[in-house]
């Protein structure tokens, strides 16, 4: 199997995983798939897909400028591939953005609802326009293939004529939005780490984008040449690296000058996560590439050249990630939850990149992006490999690829889809905490304090002597079950529940009913199940004739959705207990403080810290505040 086919197979597998993640994201929302939170609303998708993607695609306008404006014709042979990379990069940005936006189907709103003060508005417009420009710049390559179609060849002619204006327009638009991506963060001076936030952030972004553009062209060219076993343009790439040296030096001066003039130098040598990230970023972006590009001995070795360019690319992408979310102070200090992308976020980003790469390979194989098309793609030699018993022949490469790739895609999709944990989706961020049952007739053991110890509760006495109607406490009795406990309905400590047990009524061990024995059949005919539930549902009394004692006053509940155990305790039980205390002498003697909060919450502030719910945060403690203790 050829290199390129192996690589494509990997890309298809990633694509399969990404599709599974993408579907989950659109069914269950961002919370289920990402590690984003209210403290870190922007994460990997903005940092890598959008900001990184836009920066990675900068090669398009840089090479176009060199080729068409500065008259450096030697770059002509790589300009098509660079423009294609840019175009696909921007398409990838838009696709990535569709995943990140909460309401992606409203993305066109930017066209009709204007807020020109917003940097994001400007970025959005520029990206849209530049995408169009790139499309028009790349179109001739596609149209070349159809010289016989009159209309298309006409368009081709027009496009070649207006190429220079298009290139100039593209450079203008790129300048704007490459820098405006930096402007986005001007508005959050205290959110970003001081080593990154700067009033000249737009300029820094623009300069670094040009550096990245140059190095990305090197990486893209060498990678694809390696994959297609093709000689790469050593000359041109060497020239690019020499240009990159000056730009990188400028960037280095700019960056440190900015930090020192602003007075942020004190942050440079702290022992903190933010500072480490800064030095890592700078080492990748500037130091490694500079060393390699300046020393001619290293520069002339393809491996080192590749390493330098790759390091630069990683560095500047890391810069975008740092600005986009990693070095936000809510992330670095203990004030918020720590953000690191979930594997679903990573896989979707990887999937978008894979898609762009596959599209890139498609164009390379089918259109004349390079001066000559890669060999052995169009026609297969008329041979069949030697057969031994282990050999499997799946047809010509194209067919075999199709079969293998789709198979890998399906399996990868299935595995990823299976691995997306149901917990993340269904618990809504919380473990279920079942409440233990305690049944009894005359005397019940209630874990009223929820401290693991049972409390004796003279149940019979309440019914016989105090003559409280059961419904007062057992607002909804279950059939033939006269001592329903709180937990029967409030069956989760923190989550809402269902007082009517649908599962029991339908299960074989329970009532073994089907839906239509209680609900009218016309729910099938379009009547909303949720809309008018009372109208289409049979009353409990129709089946359970002996549901309530004759003399009981029952509070009729309008809904079967029950509060969580904690909520119910505060609203219902405590009130009830209070009333009983006022009336009864016996209980007052046995448990004088039954209605006191301190029974359940002996130490309110500490209590929360012990509890699972509140383990995560240390600062900004939030508790459900009980009335002040005396």
């Amino acid at each position: 199997m050829e290199r390129i086919n192996k690589f494509k197979l990997v890309l298809w597998i990633i694509l399969g995983i990404a599709l599974a993640a993408g579907i989950t994201r659109f069914i269950f929302g961002l919370g289920a798939t990402t590690n984003l939170s209210d403290t870190t609303p922007w994460g990997f998708w903005i940092g890598f897909d959008v900001m990184g993607g836009v920066a990675l695609a900068a090669g398009g306008f840089v090479i176009a400028a060199f080729n068409y404006i500065f008259g450096r014709k030697e770059f002509h042979s790589i300009s098509r591939a660079a423009i294609l990379t840019a175009f696909l990069g921007y398409v990838a940005v838009v696709i990535g953005l569709l995943f990140d936006l909460g309401l992606p189907w409203n993305i066109w709103h930017m066209i009709i609802f204007w807020n020109p003060h917003s940097p994001l508005f400007e970025v959005g417009w520029c990206v849209m326009l530049y995408l169009t420009v790139l499309f028009l710049e790349f179109m001739p390559v596609v149209l070349e293939r159809f010289p016989n179609l009159h209309l298309l060849s006409k368009i081709h002619k027009v496009l070649t004529k207006i190429r220079i204006p298009l290139v100039v327009l593209g450079i203008m638009l790129s300048t704007l939005h490459q820098s405006s991506l930096g402007s986005l963060f001007l508005t959050m001076p205290y959110r970003l780490h001081p080593l990154w936030w700067s009033p000249i952030l737009p300029v820094i972004f623009f300069v670094s984008a040009i550096c990245l553009g140059l190095m990305m062209v090197i990486v893209e060219n060498m990678t694809s040449s390696y994959l297609y076993k093709r000689e790469f343009e050593e000359n041109i790439l060497g020239k690019l690296s020499r240009i990159a040296v000056y730009l990188l030096l400028f960037y280095l001066v700019l960056r440190f000058g900015d930090i020192i003039i602003r007075g942020a130098g004190i942050f440079l040598f702290q022992a903190s996560w933010g500072t480490y990230l800064f030095w890592l970023e700078l080492a990748l972006t500037v130091f490694i590439p500079l060393i390699i590009f300046i020393i001619p001995k290293l520069r002339k070795q393809p491996n080192f050249l590749y390493l330098g360019a790759l390091s630069g690319v990683f560095g500047i992408v890391l810069n975008r990630l740092n600005v986009g979310g990693l070095t936000h102070l809510t992330n670095l200090t203990k004030s918020g939850s720590f953000y690191f992308p979930s594997w679903l976020e990573l896989s979707i980003s990887a999937g978008v990149v894979s898609l762009a790469m596959l599209a890139f390979f498609y164009f390379i194989e089918n259109y004349s992006v390079w001066d000559e098309k890669p060999k052995d793609i169009d026609s297969e030699p008329l041979t069949v490999p030697k057969f031994n018993t282990n050999y499997v022949y799946l047809g010509p490469t194209k067919t075999a690829n199709r079969v293998k790739f789709s198979f890998a895609f399906v399996i990868a999709f299935g595995l990823a889809f299976a691995l997306i944990s149901g917990k993340h989706i269904y618990s809504k961020g919380f473990d279920k905490t079942p409440v233990y049952k305690a049944r009894g007739g005359d005397t019940l053991l209630i874990d009223g304090n929820r401290n693991g110890y049972g409390v004796m509760f003279p149940h019979k006495f309440h019914g016989d002597s105090i003559k409280i109607a059961c419904g007062k406490c057992h607002h909804l009795n279950k059939p033939k079950d006269k001592n329903t406990q709180c937990f029967e309905c409030h069956n989760d400590m923190y989550l809402t529940g269902d007082a009517f047990r649908h599962d029991w009524h339908t299960s074989a061990q329970g009532a073994n009913l089907n839906c239509f024995e209680c609900h009218k059949h016309n729910v099938n005919k379009g009547e909303e199940f949720r809309g008018n539930m009372a109208a289409i549902t049979k009353l409990c009394l129709k089946c359970h004739n002996d549901l309530f004692p004759a003399d009981v006053k029952v509070k009729i509940l309008k809904t079967y959705v029950t509060l969580s155990y904690t909520d119910a305790m505060h609203k219902l039980c405590i009130n009830c207990h209070k009333e009983r205390l006022a009336a009864d002498s016996l209980l007052r003697k046995s448990k004088p403080g039954l209605a006191l909060c301190s029974n359940c919450h002996p130490k309110p502030a500490q209590y929360s810290a012990e509890h699972k719910l509140f383990t995560k945060q240390n600062v900004n403690k939030w508790v459900v505040v009980p009335p002040r203790l005396k």
Partner: protein, 270 residues
């Protein structure tokens, strides 16, 4: 402009304001989630009461006079009304969450668990007051101790100053919201034991008290931070275009001249 004044010293933490808010805005019951900031605010809780050093601090949207969120929103889904509230139009929103990033108080919350999520925050009961359903926000109305009150901003500032003047031992001599970030429509009075700096991102700084060049002052509004960059956009656009066209012209001319020279030389040689 209307405003809300919350006196921390008077709050008893009964959370009546929280309930009232949920009732009037028809918010469903809340469940704690992993993705919440855990200050009690969420897409289903637009106000909350924090327990801080024996005091209760109510948290809600500050309704800045010059709101950063409204300036940031690319489609203008958030905007400042003359009434004083910063309100949200869910029909325009496209879910970019730039408002959440831009807010210096970290207030807007997101429907993370919904497939159709919106940004949620206090809107000062704007619509209900506008429609005449209520005459003041539900939270101030529900407060049993008068710890949080509603009125014209100027009146409330006068009232606040009066309280500080009357009991200088009890109150900290700052009205939070008077100046910070250009002033807000939600004002706080607090006890000397409990400064409220923690509500503001300014105080998330690692090195407290370090003021770097270019960073906005404590009382500086936020929208102008990007305005400068945005104002230079047309110049950058036209300038870049001019430079590029000029370069192109020069390069082309030079090439042409070179060619002519070469041609002339060739001619000579021949």
């Amino acid at each position: 402009m209307k405003a809300i004044l919350t006196d921390i010293t008077k709050c008893i933490g009964c959370t009546q304001c929280v309930s009232a808010c949920k009732v009037i805005n028809k918010l469903p019951p809340d469940k704690p989630r992993e993705w919440q900031k855990n200050d009690g605010l969420s897409a289903r809780n637009w106000t909350s009461v924090l327990f801080k050093d024996e005091y209760y601090v109510r948290k809600q949207c500050r309704h800045c006079i010059e709101p950063a969120c409204a300036a940031a929103c690319p489609v203008g889904a958030l905007h400042k009304t003359d009434f004083g509230a910063v309100i949200y139009d869910s029909n325009k929103c496209l879910g970019c969450r730039y408002c959440m990033m831009a807010c210096p108080y970290g207030i807007p919350r997101y429907d993370w668990d919904s497939a159709v999520p919106y940004v949620r925050k206090c809107i000062m009961c704007y619509e209900n007051i506008n429609n005449g359903v209520i005459d003041q926000p539900a939270c101030t109305k529900a407060c049993p101790t008068g710890a949080t009150i509603f009125g014209e901003r100027e009146d409330l500032l006068i009232e606040a100053r009066k309280r500080i003047k009357n009991e200088p031992d009890k109150y900290l001599d700052t009205i939070y919201g008077e100046k910070e970030a250009g002033g807000t429509n939600v004002l706080y009075l607090t006890s000397k034991d409990c400064p409220l700096d923690f509500l503001f991102y300014y105080n998330n700084r690692i090195e407290k008290g370090v003021k770097l060049l270019g960073e906005p002052a404590f009382n500086q509004p936020y929208p102008p931070l990007t305005k400068k960059a945005m104002n230079s956009v047309p110049f950058a656009f036209v300038g870049m275009g001019a430079v590029m066209s000029g370069l192109y012209w020069i390069v082309k001319r030079r090439q042409k001249l070179e060619k002519e020279n070469k041609g002339a030389e060739d001619g000579k040689n021949q």
